[in-house]
Subunit: 222 residues, 2 copies
């Protein structure tokens, strides 16, 4: 059963970026602390990881059939030059389709509906495009929106042993916290990184219901 998941390298204190966009050398150190070379469709993007992390990475990539990102990342990467490094279709959630897009031969799709409807359409489209594989949603705003909409099924964390002391949290501004997760359903010990994967537990146990109604029952019995 294909899953909708998000993934990121996170510090022990919960940040995916340190203060003022620092800390990436530490968060991404595991992408460079091994001997196994992993290439992507982009020649300038090559990893050197341990065998254990390589196996973990290859499995994740093999299982991923489409990606949902926000406009910010799309712009930052300039649309990855027309092809995402993982070589899979990309759905971009945006207020308006950027100039010059869509492009012939570039598997980028644009969803311009706002709010919950937009994220639902984007995930539904990505599920179609993924052709039976998993859908990766970008960590940050998109993942949070998916979580609050009851669409996020798994969270993959590459837990890195550093305390950044501030920055951008993996999850922030959650509308219906707390959220219960299950697991880790998978745990792989790398070198200076622990690859963890958790399943999101919505109540009632369907990931496609109304997140707000469901979340009421999560209120702690304090």
């Amino acid at each position: 059963m294909p899953k909708v998941f998000t993934a990121a390298s996170m510090s022990l204190d919960g940040y995916v970026s340190g203060p003022d966009e620092t800390g990436f050398d530490k968060l991404f150190a595991w992408y460079g602390n091994g001997d196994v070379v992993i290439g992507t469709t982009h020649p300038e993007l090559t990893f050197h990881v341990t065998e254990v992390s390589a196996t973990h990475w290859r499995r994740l990539v093999a299982e991923t059939g489409a990606i949902v990102v926000g406009r910010k990342l799309f712009d930052l990467t300039d649309g990855w030059g027309g092809e995402h490094p993982l070589g899979v279709p990309v759905v971009v959630v945006t207020h308006s389709v950027p100039d010059g897009w869509p492009k012939e031969g570039a598997p980028f799709h644009f969803v311009t509906d706002g709010g919950t409807e937009g994220i639902e359409r984007a995930v539904a489209l990505a599920r179609e495009l993924a052709d039976g594989k998993d859908v990766a949603v970008n960590a940050g705003t998109i993942a949070r929106q998916c979580l609050d909409a009851g669409l996020l099924e798994e969270v993959a964390i590459d837990l890195v042993p550093v305390l950044l002391g501030g920055g951008t949290p993996f999850f922030t501004d959650l509308k219906s916290a707390p959220y219960d997760l299950e697991g880790p359903v998978s745990l792989v010990e790398g070198k200076q990184v622990t690859h963890l994967r958790y399943r999101v537990r919505y109540a009632p146990p369907t990931p496609r219901g109304n997140a707000h109604d469901e979340a009421v029952s999560f209120a702690p019995s304090a």
Copy 2:
């Protein structure tokens, strides 16, 4: 070699308490999700944990010879009625010795020096009292002060699969972040909890130096 460590149950998003002191039912759920009964010196404090978590817990307790806490926790627990649940000596960091203390037969010690000197004296005293075992420093302010003073050697995290969305972070207001850690040097998979233990890497690699000078070299080469 005895170690100075801190330990806490922490949510996936880095909190040891949810918003408005909520979330403890979730953070401490693993203390009650098994069949193994663990008593403490306090009759009303009994855990029911899994075999795996019981083994982990017993090891931690067996290795702990003294505890350093702040005045807030001491007051909250009313000095644990004169005996800490783990049955070990307690060093309390406080501005002034509380009324009625110290008490005959109650192994509580009070350090009233402020700032770095106070935390250094408290840890030194606890090391003496621990008689060759480890020193546990209370998560929160005390652990942060130890970290910033270069005294904290290990961090034990009981990682709980819940997103609390806010509250009290395990580590906050770190003076010299980022801090590099090593590991996990120990990893035990419980039921809905992952027991992780990391070693703090100070640079130069001595845990007793001047934290400020050391931390300069931690600045990321962004």
